[in-house]
Amino acid sequence: MRILPAFLRPLAALVLLLGLGAASARAEDSFADVAEKVNNKLVKVFGAGGFLGIPSYGTGILVSGDGHILTVASQMLETRDLRIHLANGDRYHAKIVAVEPELDLAMLKIEEKDVKTPDFYDITAEAQKAVVEPGTGVLAISNQFNVAMRAEPMSVQRGVVAAYSKLRGRRGINQAPYDGEVYFVDAIMCNPGGGGGALTTRDGKQLLGVVGKELRNTLSDTWINYAVPLQGKITIKGEKETKTVTVGDFVSQAIKGTYVTRDPKEKKKSSNLYTGIVLVPNVVERTPPYVEELDPNSPAARAGFKPDDLIVYVDGEQVVSIKEFKDAMDRYEPGAELKVEVRRGDKLSTLTLKLEDRGKKKP
C-alpha cells in the first residue's frame, strides 16, 4: 500500500480493522444523484407573510401523483393566494386540504385541474421503515431563505441525526404544538422557509421526516434543528374516545379528503386526578416541587411520600418546578401507576404512585 498522508492513517487503519480492506471496488460517495431525485419531489410554497418575522415562503413535499403537498402548518398558509412552484419551474395555485395542528402539519393540493405530479413520496410506504439511530448521515433539502427561484434546485445540507427524542419547544412566539418524537439534526436547517423540506438518509432511499420550523428548545434555550418523523404520532383525547393519529394516517386520509380538521381551540378536559400531595407555595417561577404535606390515607401517603421530599423525576422525566410537575401529571389518567423519584436527604428513592379520581376522594 502507498504511504498515506498522516491524517488519513487512522481512517485507513479503521477500514482495515473492520475487515473491509480485502475487496476493492469503486465506491460512490456522491450525493448529487440523491439530491436531484429528492429535489424533483419538492415544491416551493409562497403565501402570506413578509412581516413580523414570518417569512412568506416555505417548502413542501409531493405525496401523491395528483398534486398533494405535505408541509408544516404555519401562518404563511393563511391566504387565498397560495402558490407553488414545481421543480421544473411550473407555477400553480394551491389550497389547504387539511391541517393537523398537533402534528403541526398541513396538506395542500394544486388547485388547477388535471395537473399530474409523477414524482412523489409514498408516505404510507416510507412510514413503515424503521427509525434511524443517532449518528446516521442525513441530507436536508429545502428552500431555506428562498435562495432558489422557480426551477432552481433547492439547497442541500449534510449532517447527522443528533438524537431521536421528544420535542420540547418553548411556548409563546415560537410555539410548538407538536410534542412527540422528532429527529434532531446537527445541520442548521431550521431557517426561514426551511419548514416543510425533506430530511432523507444520505443514500436518498428513505424519507425520514418533514423539516420543522424555527424553534427554541426549552431544554437548552437554544435554537434547534428538527424534523417531524413520518413515524410521528399524536394522541387526541376526545370527549368519548382517545385515538392515535400518525403522520401516515394524516397523509392518507387527507389525500382521500376524509381528514377532519379539528378546532385548534378545543379545550382540554380539566384534570380530575387526585394524589394527596400538597406542594410548597409556588412563589417563584421555578419553585422546586417540594412536598409540604400529605393528605392522610391518600395515594401519595400510601406510596410512601414524606413531607420535605423533593420530587425529581416522574416516570423518568425530570420535573424542575411545580409547574412542570403539574404539567407532567396532566398527561395521566386516574388509575395510572407512575414511578416517582424523590430526593430525601442524600438519596433518591423510587416510589410507586397510583393515581385516583378526585371524585372518589375520601372525605
Binding site: 498522508p5 485507513a12 477500514v15 473491509l20 471496488a25 443517532p134 449518528g135 443514500d203 437554544t222 422546586p288
Partner: protein, 702 residues
Amino acid sequence: MLRRATLSVAWLGLAALLVPAEDSLDDLQQKTIKAAAKAVAPSIVQIETSGGTDIVVAGPRGVPIRKASGPTTGVVVGTDGYVISSAFNFVNKPSNITVRVPGHPEGYIADVIATDKTRMLTLLKFKTSPVKPLIVPAATPKAEIRVGQSAIALGRTLDPNPNDPPSVSVGIISAIGRIWGKALQTDAKVAPTNYGGPLVDLQGRVQGILVPLSPQAEGETGGVEWYDSGIGFAVPLEDINAVLARLKTGTAEKPFSLNRGLLGISVQSPDIYGPEPKIATIAPDSAAAKAGIQINDVIKEIDGKLVYNQAQVLHALGAKYEGDIVTVKVLRGTEEKTFKDVKLGSILNAHGRPVLGILPVRDDPEPGVEVRYVYPKSPADTAGVKEGDRITKIGPETGALGPFSGADGLAAILATATPKTKVKIEVVRKDKKTETLTVTLGELPEKDAAEEVPEKLPEEASKKKALEPRKPVPGMPPMPAPAPAPKKDDKKVELGVMQRKNASATHTYWVYVPRNYDPNVSYALVIWLHPVGKDKEKDDEKVQDDWIDYCRSNNIILAAPHAENKTGWVVSESDVIAEVARDVMATYTVDKRRVVAHGMGVGGQMAFYLGFHNRDLVRGVAATGAALTNQAKEKVPNQPLSFYLHAGSKDPLKDSVVESRTKLLEQKYPVVYREEKDAGHEYLDEKALDELVRWIDSLDRL
C-alpha cells in the same frame, strides 16, 4: 475549505482502493461514528439540576438569558463517583444536582467539589458510592490530536433517557492550542445541548470536554454566544487528568478552586499585538515582584520561548495554573537577565489597596496634602489625624520620612506599600505644630467589612487653585506645571447642556457643565450610559433633572453618549465613549481620580466593560440593574477602580448583581452594594442618588 476538499478527494481515492461496492465510504464513516459514540456512551452521564436562579447574564453585552431547564452532560473521570462537566451547567448555583449513569438503575445525588476557573470545568462527586464502578473513558493523547482529524461531539440534553445513545454532532478538529493554549477547536456543533460532554475520536477515545470559551470573555457563560456556529471548544482530557488529583481534594463544604497562574505584571502598551512587552506595573507580593523582575524590564522569553508582544506572553502563560513554575528572561537596559523557578501566584494572594483613611483637599498647589475628611475608625483616625491637618511627609516605620507633592504623590507612595504594615507620617496641625504619627495602613476593601459611604462630607473640597503650578517640594525635582490647556485658560467655555457629535460623527452625545463652572476647581466626570431605548430627548431631560442640582453643588460634569444601535451598547463603542470623555477632559478641569462610568441595564454592562478596559481613564463604575457577566479582571496597581452596585429587590437580575459584588470582592475591588426594597428594575431614588454623589465625592480616598 481547501483542506476539507483535499480530504474528501483523498477519501474517494482510498475508498476506490479498499471499499467493497455495497458499503459506500459514507456508510463506513457512519458505522465508525456510531461505534465510537457507543464505545464512550457508558461514560457519558446526564446531569439534572434544580433550584438556583432562573436568570443568568451572558455574552459580551450581558444579555440576561434564562437558565434552561433541561438536563446537561458530564463525563466520568473516576470509578467511584467523579464526573467532570462544564461550569456553564452550574452557573445558576443549583441547590440540587442529580446524576444519571447509563446502566445504573437509580440516579445519584452529587455535589460540586471543585472548579477549574481557567478552563471553566466543574468536578462533581456523588454523595453515595455507585452501585457498580463507573467506567472511565480512554483519553486521546494530545500528541496524537491533529487538525483535520474527525471529532464527534456527544451530549445528553436532547434525550431524557440516559440509556439511549447520546446525541451526536460530527465534525473535525479545526485547531489545537486555542484560547491561549487551553482548548481544542472543532466544527462539530457545540451548544448547551452538549456542554460538559466529550469530543470523541473515531476510535472512541475522548479528545476533550466540550465547554463554551472565548478568548476575550472569562467566566461560565463566556463564548455561549457562539453555540452551533461551527466554532466550538473542548479542553483536552489529558490536561484535565493532569490536574484531577488536585481537583479531587475539594469537598462539598469547601470546593477547591484551581486558578490561573499569574506573574503579576501589566505591560505598557494596551495593544496586545503591539510593541515589545515592557513592564508597566508589578503587583506587590506577586510572582514577578518576588523574583526581582522590575518595572521597565522587557520580557524576552518565557520557558525558552521567544515573546515579542503581549499576546505572545498570554500564549506562554495563558494555560498555566497558580503554583506552576516558569522561567522568564528579560532585558533590563542592555543586560539580559534570566529568572528561573518563578512560581506563578494566584489572584487569591492579591491585596486590597493600602489606605490611610482620609480624603484630601483638592486643587491645592502647596506641598503635602491637607486632610479634608477622616474616615471614622480608619487607620488615620486611630493614629490621631484630624481634619485640617496637613500631611507633609511619609516614610517606613524605621527609616527617614520623605516629602511628596500633593495627593497624586501620596497616592503613588501608598500604591507601593503593603496593607497592614506600619508607616510614619509627619503632620502639621492647624495650630502649625508638627507631629510624627505612626499609622497601620488599612486595606480597601477591608475583609468582611461593609463598605460605607461617608454620611456627610465637609463642603470645602477644593482650594480652587487647580490651574496654578505646584509649589516645589524641598529635596525633590520641581513638578512640571500643569500641561498648557489653552481652552481651559482663556476663552469663555460653553456651559449648560450642549449637544455634540464625536469626531467621526457616528455618535451623538450631550454634556452638561454647571453654570457656576470654575476652571480652578476640578470636577468629577460622570459618563452616563443609558439603558436600551432610553436615548430620546425626554429620557435625556429626565437624567438632567435628576442630576443638575448635584452637578452644581458637588462640582460634577455629566457626559452622555447615545448608543448607535437601538438594541443597546456594543463593546466596540467603548472607544467612542472614551473619546467623548477625553474630549470633555481637554476642555474642562476634570479630576482624573473621579471619572465615573454610570449606567443602567445594558448601559450598566457597558459601564463595567468601560471600567475594566479603560483603566487609565475610569476610576469608578456605578451600575444599576446590571450585573458583571464575566469574572472581574485583575486589578492594576496605581490605577484604582471602585464599584457602586445598585438593584431593586424585585429586579430579576438582583441575584446576579449580588453575585457580581462577590466576584469583585474576590478580586479585592472596593464595592458598595445597595438594594432598594420593593423596587424592580428602576433608576436610583433620591436617597440612593444622594449617596452615589457622596461616593463620587469620596473616590479620591487615600
